[in-house]
Symmetry: C2
Subunit: 85 residues, 2 copies
């Protein structure tokens, strides 16, 4: 058993609006003068430490857990699961 | 000018407690039977689209913006800025 780090990123579906990201973009970044930034999307990150035989097993455990435990709402969000390092 | 994607991750400092991550870990993941998961840290993700000459310039613009606009609280949080792709 090794220790692996897996990141979960939950954000609104690409075609859905993202009022949080829009507000940060318009009222903070554009007003602050950073016009090079053309879009902002906000999301949630969960970094999990997982005991598993391999990195790929760790990733699959986390993917299953996100679906099983309804960590996100599949009607509204997309959920990415990534290995770190 | 090319289009680059930069991710900003804001989380509590490593030595600070993270009540949100602890609650997700204890009351959702452990209760759900996923004992392989030994730790969870929660954070905020901002994915920014940036116009810049190079990927490294895009990263530096975003790093500067996060400090200038106080997108995070340096006393409480750590802020990572990463290039995507």
């Amino acid at each position: 058993m090794d220790t692996h780090t897996v990141e979960v990123i939950i954000e609104n579906k690409p075609l859905a609006r993202d009022p949080e990201g829009e507000t940060i973009h318009r009222n903070l970044i554009i007003k602050g003068g950073y016009k090079q930034v053309t879009n902002v999307r906000a999301g949630k990150l969960l970094r999990m430490t997982v005991q598993a035989d391999s990195a790929e097993t760790a990733r699959q455990i986390v993917k299953k857990l996100c679906d099983d435990l309804r960590i996100y709402n599949p009607a509204a969000h997309v959920c990415q699961v990534r290995l770190v390092g």
